[in-house]
């Protein structure tokens, strides 16, 4: 391989690169002229671009969140803000109408109702779906919001209160109740009898034996004589088909001995009043609302 010496290919008359492999040489075909022109124009263009648009990343500086602001004063953050302002302006009309309307009023106005459901669904996905699931179907320990069994009440107002202040949350207005751990109060055999009584009652069989007395003495004060629960206390209905922590003998015993207590945060300080109301209406619409 020699340098500084032009090698011309015999057949094509084109200059070669001088590289040779087993007698095969590579033609040094120049770039098409138009391509080169476009290339140079791009380079010139890029210089202007550097100054016109935010291009240089810096750790601090004039630009929002670091970086230069080009002479066009355009940033993606500004673009986002503008787009959001547009959407807010579009929503403003509905927001104010929604704010002025009662829950009943919203539920009878197709436009406002659709607005509430859309907002509620989006807020639900962002905030509630983590525990209750995207469809609100819940999981063991996290209530299913689609069914018609409500621990603390299923009217829109009840749901609004629960969402706003939470259950066993640090908020002063929180819904609160706590089932005692009966492992310290009753013996194992008594707990077993009690669990058997509750399971049988849920299945529709009344057993007027020792379990009934135990139930009346220990449980009825919160869960009611007919075991239908008490929504003001958050005491679950024990005779319906829905079990929060499971309905087998063993699961019931475990819950009597050392009850699990779920905690739901208060959302009042985190979400706007309109969002809370939208959430209440949305959850109510899932199918089980009272």
């Amino acid at each position: 391989m020699t340098q500084n010496e032009k090698k011309i290919d015999e057949f094509t008359g084109t200059e070669t690169t001088g590289h040779e492999w087993d007698g095969i040489t590579e033609l040094d075909t120049p770039m098409p002229r138009w391509w080169l022109i476009v290339f140079y124009v791009c380079i010139i263009w890029s210089v202007g671009y550097w100054f016109w648009y935010p291009t240089w990343p810096t750790f601090s500086g004039d630009g929002e969140r670091g970086g230069t602001v080009g002479s066009a004063q355009w940033t993606q953050y500004k673009q986002l803000e503008e787009a959001q302002a547009e959407i807010k302006a579009l929503r403003a009309e509905y927001e104010s109408r929604f704010e002025a309307a009662s829950f009943k009023g919203v539920q009878s106005d197709p436009t406002l109702y659709a607005f509430a459901l859309a907002g509620g669904k989006s807020a639900f996905g962002d905030n509630c779906a983590t525990c209750h699931g995207t469809g609100g179907a819940g999981a063991s320990g996290y209530p299913n919001l689609n069914d018609d069994d409500w621990l603390w009440g299923g009217t829109v107002d009840d749901i609004y209160q629960t969402v706003s202040y939470g259950i066993r949350s640090p908020h002063d207005e929180t819904r609160f109740s706590e089932m005692p751990a009966f492992a310290d109060i009753l013996s194992d055999s008594e707990i077993s009898d009690l669990a058997g009584f509750v399971a049988a009652k849920a299945a529709g069989v009344d057993m007027p034996d020792i379990g009934a007395t135990l139930y009346a003495d220990n449980c009825a004060v919160c869960h009611a004589d007919n075991a239908g629960g008490d929504k003001t206390l958050g005491a679950p209905n024990l005779v319906d088909a829905i079990w929060f922590y499971g309905g087998t003998q063993g699961e019931i015993e475990a819950q009597i001995k050392k009850p699990k207590h779920g905690m739901m945060p208060a959302w009042q300080d985190r979400l706007s009043e309109n969002t809370l109301r939208q959430l209440a209406i949305y959850v109510h619409s899932l199918g089980g609302g009272e």
Binding site: Q107, A137, N144, D149, A241
Partner: protein, 438 residues
């Protein structure tokens, strides 16, 4: 040509009253609300097969015309030809005939040349703009859009289409011309499949013309053909073929060679029609001296006509029996089913009711297939399954909950039935009622 262009430009301005809820433009393809209107018909996007049917009809009609008369579509009705003719006409008026044009192109740049070429291209662009401008009227309310265009207050989508169509008209009719027919048009490639011996084509009478050769005035015509090899037919051919070599793929049946040859024959005081419209069969029989009548009914044309009749009837039947309402049901997937406190099970459904009529209606939705099914409609106000309101020409969206005592099987098949307030029943929709994991 004037008729075709007139239809193209004026059609979007025709009005057709459809009541207060629909546009009153006779022919309108409304992309934003996804509807197409054609006089008394309005097509929803899922009924696009009507358009397919019309395209099939158009294709077969083209096949039929081709097998009968050769390439008449190309020569007379194809937009490429119509617009090319229009552009050539402009060129001829501004720059003069072919000889003058050639001279103008070769001439050095002068004010006259600049003016003539500039005017030609300006007029071409104006025609292109009118073409592209007219096209967008089919997709928008024409008078409103015209006003917007006059005020230069046009949405970007419309502007883009106008620019693109103006550009393509300008390039295709101004520069590409018959290159499009030869190199781009797929129809040119397969049209020979529709040709047979009885298809009317442009043909050179080789029997009479050969052996060709130059002819001096006064020479005898004995022992030679009538073709004097003047190449007039080749010179006028827009696609640049020699018709005396027989029919070729490029031939668009414009007939310019016929006219050119007849002029020459007339000067030579020979009978006309050395090149003429004829069928291959008649060329053959002419040798034997018998005239052959033009055969219209052949198996091929019969098949094409039969297909047209069948497809046309199918479309007509479809349009006449078109359902004016539809129900679509989507079973909830999350959650699949809900256990209720009394032991029964509830399923949720998204129901869409399509009201294709031009008036507001209420529909009655019923469900069957499982014992003890109860239906509840979830929505604003007091919605009842017996009276679901849907506005004219729109889709009503409803949430419906079905509950039933836990059935034996985990998936029960159920059927939704839609009737309108007149009691007319529409197509049923099959769905499922799920009550447990499979």
């Amino acid at each position: 040509m004037v008729v075709l262009l007139g239809i193209y430009y004026l059609a979007p301005f025709m009005r057709w009253d459809r009541g207060p809820h629909a546009p009153d433009q006779a022919i309108l393809i409304d992309m934003t609300s996804s509807r197409a209107y054609f006089f008394f018909i309005d097509i929803w996007p899922q009924e696009i097969y009507y358009l397919t049917g019309i395209l099939i009809l158009a294709a077969i009609a083209l096949f039929l015309a081709t097998s009968l008369f050769g390439r008449v579509w190309c020569g007379y009705a194809c937009p490429q030809t119509v617009w090319t003719d229009l552009f050539v006409w402009v060129e001829r008026i501004v720059q003069g005939d072919r000889a003058k044009r050639q001279k103008l192109y070769k001439a050095a740049w002068s004010i006259e040349k600049l003016w003539k070429l500039g005017l030609t291209h300006f007029l071409w662009l104006v025609i292109g703009l009118l073409t592209g401008g007219a096209w967008v009227f089919y997709f928008n309310d024409a008078p409103t859009l015209l006003e917007q265009i006059i005020h230069f207050d046009v949405p970007w989508s419309v502007m883009g289409w106008i620019i693109a169509l103006t550009g393509s008209t300008y390039v295709m009719a101004g520069f590409a011309r018959e290159q499009v027919c030869t190199y781009m048009c797929p129809y040119a490639r397969f049209q020979s499949a529709m040709f047979d011996k009885d298809t009317l084509i442009i043909g050179y009478d080789a029997e009479r013309g050969e052996a060709r050769g130059k002819h001096k005035k006064g020479d005898s015509w004995e022992g030679r053909g009538h073709c004097v090899d003047c190449t007039a037919c080749v010179q006028v051919c827009p696609t640049g073929i020699d018709i005396r070599d027989g029919l070729q793929m490029e031939c668009i049946a414009c007939g310019l060679c016929i006219d050119a040859c007849n002029d020459v024959m007339h000067k030579l005081e020979l009978p006309a029609d050395l090149i003429r419209y004829a069928t291959t069969s008649s060329q053959d029989t002419r040798k034997t001296g018998t005239a052959l009548p033009f055969k219209i009914w052949r198996p091929r044309t019969f098949y094409y006509a039969a297909i047209i009749a069948v497809v046309g009837a199918a479309i007509l039947y479809g349009l006449l029996n078109r359902s004016l309402a539809e129900v679509h049901v989507l079973h909830d997937r999350n959650p699949l089913f809900v256990q209720l406190s009394d032991g029964s099970v509830r399923n949720g459904y998204d129901i869409r009711i399509l009201n294709k009529t031009l008036e507001d209606k209420t529909y009655n939705l019923e469900v069957s297939g499982l014992n003890g099914l109860e239906m509840r409609v979830q929505g604003a106000g007091n919605l009842q399954a017996g009276a679901l309101p849907v506005f004219a020409g729109s889709i009503g969206h409803f949430r419906v909950f079905l509950s039933a005592p836990k059935p034996g099987e985990t998936r029960a098949n159920i059927v939704f039935t839609l009737t309108d307030d007149q009691g007319v029943q529409y197509e049923n929709y099959e769905s499922v009622f799920v009550s447990g994991m499979p």
